[in-house]
């Protein structure tokens, strides 16, 4: 029964992915001011990168100005003279073999572009995840111990506020307070300083962490709440089990009983959340944090590509994200089921 359910889930990944890609493809085709206009604008010297974003200027070029001949030439160059269904089937067949095409403007393969930006996004994601788990689990244990007390309720309130405020608002607050507005303790932008190559190895490592402090702090602050509350509740659940009393009766101290018996049992549920946490950290809040701190990562790449109408890059990133999302969701459900056999995902018969 279990295997049947997961085989069906696995098979359903393909049609879902297919629909997502088709949806994204047609959405992008519908987007006015396509790559042809963007390329034209570039030749006219109009900047449409993310830097122009905050100038409140209208990036979309005036269609009437476009010289028809040049337009046709650009359209031929990008393959836009072909009918839409032909481009659609071509895109689909390429995606099946993980051939994501190449960028319209930089002419580099999309996979290469994504891989070149991956270190930045992975840095942000990895340290966020690491610190979130490092802080959330002891905090959850402490909250469970002081359940219902002053510490528990105050920290819950703070965690919920940090969770409910959009990540990039926290990022901007940190930026204004600690990176130039009030205090200039941390760097304003980028992952490393301009003179990074000249520094010693320890200097390089310190420089890297110094740049990561604020972005990671913003991401951790907003991601901490759910994991901490989950840990707390799972430990409270386990503390009600009779085996804790048994251990104490057999002479074990309460602290060691909690760390030796309660925590390992609760941690399973927490580990089962790892896939969905990974997903939300890589896809959720990072885009705006990357924009705020000018971190040159995958999310910023996708956003700039979208502004420039560089469809292959946008579609490629969305494809990777969707695939990652579906797979991680499935893995999460599997782990969950494995950890807690009582969980049943099949339909309830009414």
């Amino acid at each position: 029964m279990l295997n049947f359910y997961f085989i069906r889930r696995l098979l359903l990944v393909f049609p879902t992915l297919f629909i997502i890609i088709s949806l994204n493809f047609f959405l992008l085709q519908w987007l006015p001011g396509g790559p042809v206009e963007a390329a034209f604008a570039k030749q006219q010297g109009i900047d449409s990168s993310a830097n122009a974003l905050f100038d409140e200027t209208d990036q979309i070029t005036n269609g009437q100005l476009i010289d028809d001949q040049l337009r046709d030439k650009i359209a031929r160059e990008y393959g836009f003279d072909k009918p839409i269904w032909q481009r659609y089937t071509e895109t689909l067949s390429r995606y099946l073999s993980f051939e994501l095409g190449s960028s319209y403007f930089s002419k580099r393969p999309v996979t290469e572009l994504i891989f070149s930006k991956l270190p930045v996004s992975l840095s942000l994601g990895f340290w966020t995840l690491f610190l979130t788990y490092l802080i959330a689990i002891p905090l959850g244990v402490m909250k469970a111990n002081k359940q219902g007390g002053m510490f528990d309720s105050t920290s819950s309130l703070l965690l919920f506020i940090a969770y409910a405020v959009p990540t990039f608002i926290i990022a901007i607050m940190l930026l204004i307070l600690f990176a130039g507005g009030v205090f200039s303790w941390f760097p304003l932008r980028g992952l490393v300083s301009a003179n990074h190559a000249d520094l010693s190895v320890t200097g390089q490592i310190l420089d890297y962490f110094w740049h990561l402090c604020l972005p990671v702090a913003a991401c951790v602050a907003s991601g901490l709440a759910s994991l901490t509350v989950l840990t707390r509740n799972s430990i409270i659940d386990q503390m009600a089990q009779p085996y804790l009393d048994t251990a104490i009766c057999m002479g074990e101290s309460r602290t060691s009983a909690i760390f030796n018996h309660v925590l390992p049992n609760s941690i399973l549920v927490i580990v089962a959340r790892l896939p969905s946490d990974l997903l939300s950290i890589f896809i959720g809040g990072t885009l705006l944090v990357e924009i705020v701190f000018s971190l040159d990562g995958v999310a910023l790449l996708g956003f700039e590509a979208l502004l420039e109408r560089d469809y292959p890059v946008v579609l490629g990133i969305l494809y990777c994200y969707s695939l990652l999302g579906l797979v991680l969701n499935l893995v999460g459900d599997l782990i969950y089921r494995w950890v807690d056999p009582r969980v049943d995902f099949s339909e309830v018969n009414g």
Partner: protein, 351 residues
């Protein structure tokens, strides 16, 4: 490493639990009052911050500049255009022949103060300073809060309605409907909402309503999941099963028994839907894809703060306002959850 005494670990006794419950409820009540005052005050933003006087007495006649647009000639000016009451000549005229009753703040959200170089730090005239286009930050904040709160309310109501209908149908009928619904929700969740909004903002200038409809349309599926889970649970309850055996029609069971349960389950997550809607509007405004340029918006204030780090009061004002609103919403949601918890406990015992 940790001092764990026996007392702390034991479940709190009832009196302790009750007092905590009461204090949460009380805190939530005060938060709700402050929130409503904030909303109410922002509703009357025109009467608090405006570049037109509330009332003018000129040559013994009464004028209401906020409601009626008067030509300048009315007050001894030379032009037929609408009177600019900040013009020193005009105010002198009015002062000579009568009096004018001004709002607390003499600036509307788009009034430009040409006397100071901007962005300017807070002064006694501009309480929260001027933004980088010379507009009064306090007035923009006040009008911005009104738009943000109204917008989020509107989206929250729409999302709640959509999610209740979709989640109830999916959970109640189960089987194929449920499996199909789960796929739809999976796909729906992966639609890049940012794209859709960008498409719409490039096709038409997004207004308050178009923007809120799009966000509501792409925001209901998460809440629908909660409703579905709740309905899946409630429909197994004995009284619903017996109602079905007796032959009560589906729609009646849904309307009378399932919906109220689902509604209660939804209620406690509505504050988070609200703050999510607030967040999306601020994000879109920040990126420049939200409400039209010139609108008083908190997101625009924050993006100004990011671009003018030498003027930290801009960003801190915006962030502070958002922090305040979110804190109030969280306090209210805690109280709602606490208030609903007796129902929850009962449900768990039965289910």
């Amino acid at each position: 490493m940790m001092d764990i005494s026996q007392d702390d670990v034991n479940l709190p006794d009832n009196s302790k639990k009750n007092s905590r419950r009461l204090s949460t409820l009380k805190r939530g009540k005060y938060a709700a009052i402050i929130f409503l005052i904030l909303f109410f005050v922002s509703l009357f933003a025109e009467l608090i911050a405006n570049d037109k006087p509330l009332l003018i007495s000129y040559k013994g006649e009464l004028f209401f500049p906020i409601l009626v647009s008067y030509p300048e000639t009315q007050f001894g000016g030379d032009f037929d255009s609408e009177a600019d009451y900040t013009d020193p000549f005009l105010s002198e005229q009015i002062a000579k022949q009568g009096w004018a009753l001004w709002p607390f703040v003499h600036y509307s959200y788009s009034t430009i103060n040409y006397e100071l170089s901007y962005p300017s730090p807070p002064t006694s005239e501009n309480w929260l300073g001027l933004d980088d286009q010379g507009r009064d930050v306090f007035a923009r904040l006040l009008y911005g809060i009104r738009i943000s709160l109204g917008f989020s309310f509107f989206i929250t109501v729409n999302i709640a309605l959509l999610a209740l209908v979709a989640g109830t149908l999916q959970g109640y009928f189960g089987g194929v409907v449920d499996l199909f619904g789960q796929r739809v929700s999976e796909i729906w969740g992966s639609v890049p909402v940012m794209f859709v909004v960008m498409i719409v903002s490039s096709l038409i200038q997004p207004s308050f309503f178009t923007l809120s409809m799009i966000l509501a349309l792409f925001g209901w599926h998460y809440l629908a999941q909660l409703v579905r889970a709740e309905v899946l649970r409630t429909r197994q309850l004995e009284y619903i099963q017996s109602a079905l055996i007796v032959g009560v029609p589906d729609w009646r069971v849904i309307w009378r028994h399932i919906m109220p349960n689902a509604l209660i389950a939804t209620l406690s997550s509505l504050p988070f839907v609200f703050s999510g809607a607030l967040g999306s509007l601020i994000t879109l405004d920040f990126l420049g894809f939200g409400l039209p340029v010139g609108y008083p918006s908190l997101g625009e204030l924050i993006s100004q703060g990011k671009n003018n780090l030498h003027a930290p009061w801009l960003g801190l004002t915006g962030c502070g306002a958002i922090l305040l609103i979110v804190t109030l919403v969280v306090l209210m949601s805690e109280a709602i959850q606490e208030w609903l918890s007796p129902y929850k406990d009962k449900d768990h015992a039965e289910g």
